[in-house]
């Protein structure tokens, strides 16, 4: 047993309770805020975590120090004897053994916690010392020269007991992103076999944050040592696929991960009318969502889009609405009919013209604001629904697209995950969804949007499905309380003092708040259902390239002219494709036809890329110069007046 470093003291004004105690130490003691200590007393062992510290001397009032120094501050430090001084710490009880009867902490010797003490104090023995352990490393607890691994319980991080994780911290330190990357890596490496498979879907919402998860980072020796201490391999994710919408030109990807060397696993994210229409509610604000609009959208979805629609008032032939262009044509036919044939009637098939116009405007709006996301050819390039591989990461880069389109992407991706997990046919048993900037998507104040409702639904019921939300934001206080409240595990990086002073942090001691306000990069405060008090842990830098470094090493490719951009896309499938060959193929073609062929080629990934692409372009219709027609000149006659 180690030598005691302190002694519990209890007075009438500062008594010990079952949940808190005070102890003093020598001045040179290594104890600090967040240190875990063990109190040994007869028939009882108590584990506590230091939450506050005090120091004072036997000086009764400051004036006595003035008197002692003859009023000269310079002399005050030269008294022959230093005043008796106390280092008094307050600790919150983590655990008492025996647990019953629960009693005030006894007066006893205080020791620094050992490795095994940390396991017991944090109740990690409940999930580490079992036949089927479910611990996953989250970092190391370091105090007083001790460095003990801290584990999170997979049952409480990824369900079914509790789930979800939320990270709060100031922007700019990369702590939030780094923590998620490290934790995901830890989950992928240590997720218990008996719990099945796991994958992650990450939304990259700003800059290049998550754009290089498959690229190795340069780690320091200290980082590698920490990985070793935690039993983890310092390596980037092995199976990562990126999805990004196109830019408005339909051929250049809208992502900072556009370097040609990274093109192999960077896919376009393109949706057709069907995909958008299913989530039309996302596009409508609360005022729009009335029964009439809902009914008309339902009509479009069930009767029109993707089906043969027959209505002789609109067309003699069956109408096929597969794309936004088809839909626009469909609307135009309705309006034409109502204006011309129905003699300015205001109702078509029981739908008022105002409702039809509103739905048309909203749907048309998305095709404009998310031009690179939606396609006119009706064919989607999407995540591999139903074919998610174990330990695969899917990053959807929405950083460069319109907020409305971001909402649409987010809503559809999460809904699809939910649908597949409900049917147990996604390909994996658990999916971690990472969303940054949560205060933007689920704000405490503001409109009750579809995305906000969906996040709430996810946080409240996702764990039963294996759908787990990892979320991050700068200001936890500005996020919908029920969303963050449902996060079983919470991480806190360096915090802004304004944020810490909000009521949500009232349970933290002033010293803990002060430590949070100055927390260095790579350190976090952790709340986890097994831990009765927040705990400070240190974690190594993630083994994958940070976004900032990634864009320097893999500079984004410049937007290319149309032919070169098409060639680059095809070269990702076949490095032998050259610009001249592509130029020869697409010369004189309409851009929309080329885009359609390109998307089909990317979707199919044929063996002979150029041949398939050429076939998709279809037979070239040769131009021919029509002879000039006109009115033939008048036959010359003699001018009787000439």
């Amino acid at each position: 047993m180690t030598a005691p470093i302190g002694r519990v003291v209890a007075t009438e004004l500062k008594p010990s309770t079952p949940h808190q105690f005070h102890f003093w130490t020598a001045r040179e003691s290594p104890v600090g805020i967040g240190a875990i200590v063990r109190v040994e007393a007869a028939a009882r062992t108590v584990f506590g975590i230091v939450t506050d510290g005090f120091a004072y001397s036997d000086l009764l009032t400051p004036i006595h120090d003035v008197i002692g120094a003859d009023g000269d501050p310079a002399l005050a430090g030269f008294a022959p004897t230093e005043r008796a001084e106390i280092r008094l710490y307050t600790a919150a009880v983590l655990r008492q053994l025996p647990e019953e009867p629960l009693q005030p902490v006894p007066l006893g010797a205080v020791h620094l916690a050992s490795d095994s003490d940390v396991v017991t104090a944090l109740r990690m023995d409940a999930f580490l010392a079992t036949a089927t352990p479910t611990g996953m490393p989250a970092g190391v607890y370091a105090a007083g020269g001790l460095e003990a691994p801290i584990y999170l319980d997979a049952d409480f991080l990824l369900g079914p007991e509790a789930a979800h994780l939320n990270i709060t911290g100031v922007s700019g330190l990369a702590t939030k992103t780094s923590a998620v990357e490290f934790l995901l890596s830890s989950i992928f490496q240590t997720f218990p076999v008996q719990k099945g498979s796991v994958a992650a879907v990450c939304f990259n919402v700003k800059g290049p944050d998550l754009c290089f998860l498959d690229q190795p980072a340069e780690l320091s020796e200290e980082d590698r040592r920490l990985y070793g201490r935690l039993g983890l391999r310092p390596e980037p994710f092995g199976d990562v696929t990126y999805y990004a919408p196109y830019k408005a030109d339909g051929v250049n990807l809208n992502t900072l991960r556009s370097h040609e060397a990274l093109a192999a696993n960077t896919m376009p994210l393109v949706w057709g009318l069907r995909e958008v229409l299913d989530y039309a509610e996302v596009l409508l604000n609360k005022d729009d969502v009335d029964a009439k609009a809902d009914a008309f959208i339902g009509f479009l979805g069930e009767r029109v889009v993707g089906r043969e629609f027959r209505d002789i008032t609109l067309s003699d032939q069956p109408l096929e609405v597969k794309s936004f262009a088809d839909l626009e044509d469909f609307f135009r036919r309705i309006f034409d009919f109502m204006e011309v044939q129905a003699k300015s009637s205001e109702v078509w098939r029981n739908h008022h013209i105002a409702t039809i116009r509103k739905v048309r405007n909203r749907l048309g709006n998305i095709s404009v604001r998310a031009k690179g996301l939606v396609t006119d050819d009706g064919q989607a390039s999407d995540l591999p629904w139903g074919k998610f591989a174990d330990r695969s990461v899917h990053v959807i880069d929405v950083a460069g697209i319109d907020p409305l389109a971001q909402d649409l992407v987010f809503a559809r991706a999460v809904s699809k995950l939910k649908e597949h997990l409900e049917r147990r046919d996604l390909g994996v048993d658990h999916v971690v969804v990472f969303v940054d900037e949560l205060n933007k998507y689920a704000p405490a104040d503001g409109p009750d949007t579809y995305v906000r409702r969906m996040l709430l639904e996810l946080s409240e019921r996702g764990r039963y499905l294996g759908l787990v939300l990892f979320s991050a934001q700068q200001f936890r206080s500005q996020v919908l309380r029920r969303v963050v409240g449902n996060a079983g595990t919470a991480l806190f990086g360096r915090m802004d003092m304004d944020e810490i002073s909000t009521p949500g942090y009232a349970t933290l001691s002033p010293a803990t708040k002060a430590k949070l306000a100055a927390l260095p990069k790579g350190e976090l405060m952790v709340r986890h259902p097994h831990f009765t008090q927040p705990l400070f842990v240190r974690f190594p830098r993630p083994a994958m390239l940070p976004g900032r470094v990634g864009v320097e090493r893999f500079p984004p490719a410049a937007d290319l002219p149309f032919p070169q951009a098409v060639a680059r896309q095809l070269r990702a499938l076949d490095p032998a494709v050259t610009v001249p060959k592509v130029e020869a193929l697409i010369d004189g073609r309409r851009e929309e036809d080329v885009r359609r062929a390109l998307h089909a080629t990317r979707r199919t990934r044929p063996d002979n890329v150029l041949a398939f692409f050429s076939a998709q372009l279809g037979k070239r219709v040769e131009r021919e110069v029509a002879p000039a027609r006109g009115v033939t000149g008048l036959k010359k006659t003699g001018d009787p007046y000439g």
């Binding site: 006595h64 008294a79 022959p80 004897t81 230093e82 008796a84």
Partner: protein
């Protein structure tokens, strides 16, 4: 108060079981020594008349310095007829100052029962673990007089304990040692050239008349001439008064200490130097102790240690 009672509860019960009348009486000032106010004329060895010697600016004491003090507490816990049975705890300690930090160097404690001889005989094994001290039975039992006798015995026992640990410390260290009170407790102390006694009490004064007036009106930062106190024939010492803090507007004894040192020419030669070292000991101030103006912080630290670590 309750802590003291509980500390002796077991003994009190055992004494009551033997037919004595249990009692609880903690006399006022039970933690201090009994002293009578008197004047005992001293012999000046430095000047011909009393006058103030400016000692110069305070100087920090070089090297290690030890502080020795003792504490006592006692109470009446029973009566054997009219005679009180007194129980006491005495303690003494040496705290050594190294690099401005105080460290416990020596400590000793004793628990005592003081009563008439036949009472102590009756108590026998009930007071096991306690030192037994008899008071005179020349006169018939008297509750007040017997108590005064017991109190004197406690004072003496404490003095002996202080001497004991002082000797123990000196056998291990040659550092300067400052004792709370007089050096005359021990002839060995009185001869020790690296020992000073610092008396806060002025119940016994060395001069009378006009000399006393000069003696008591020393300005701050000045000392009296060195003198040899009377009544220390066995262990003669040299002494002088030193004013640590201005007294004007307060009382004549405010900030006035009496220093004792070995009766040697060396002491005479360095009375100013020793006074400068002592002046530096004014800081830190020993508040909130009411004797802060005369109580050196090192001595107070010993008292605080003994009180805090006592049973």
């Amino acid at each position: 108060m309750s802590t003291r009672a509980s500390g002796w509860t077991r003994l009190r019960r055992a004494v009551a079981a033997r037919g004595f009348t249990p009692a609880t009486w903690i006399p006022a000032a039970s933690e201090g020594r009994a002293e009578e106010a008197t004047i005992r004329p001293a012999r000046l060895v430095e000047d011909l008349r009393i006058g103030g010697h400016p000692v110069g600016s305070p100087e920090p004491w070089p090297g290690t310095v030890a502080f020795l003090d003792g504490t006592q507490r006692y109470e009446v816990m029973a009566y054997a007829g009219a005679s009180p049975v007194v129980v006491a705890e005495i303690a003494a300690a040496v705290l050594e100052r190294r690099d401005r930090q105080m460290h416990v160097a020596e400590v000793a404690r004793r628990r005592l029962v003081i009563a008439r001889p036949e009472v102590l005989g009756d108590l026998e094994d009930a007071i096991e673990g306690h030192g037994a001290i008899e008071i005179s039975e020349d006169e018939p039992p008297h509750p007040v007089k017997d108590f005064q006798l017991a109190r004197r015995e406690v004072d003496a026992a404490r003095g002996r304990l202080e001497v004991e640990i002082g000797h123990r410390y000196r056998s291990a260290s040659n550092a300067w040692m400052i004792v709370d009170g007089a050096l005359s407790e021990s002839p060995q102390w009185a001869r020790d050239e690296k020992m000073l006694g610092v008396a806060k009490s002025h119940a016994t004064l060395p001069f009378g008349g006009g000399d006393l007036e000069h003696y008591l009106r020393l300005p701050a930062g000045m000392r009296s001439p060195v003198f040899e106190p009377a009544g220390n024939e066995v262990a003669p010492v040299f002494s002088w008064a030193l004013r640590l803090w201005p007294w004007q507007g307060l009382n004549l004894l405010h900030g006035l200490i009496r220093v004792e040192a070995a009766a040697t020419l060396e002491t005479l030669a360095r009375a100013d130097q020793l006074s400068r070292w002592l002046l530096a000991e004014r800081a830190p101030v020993s508040t909130p102790d009411p004797r802060w103006d005369r109580l050196l912080y090192g001595i107070r630290a010993v008292e605080e240690y003994l009180r805090a670590s006592g049973e």
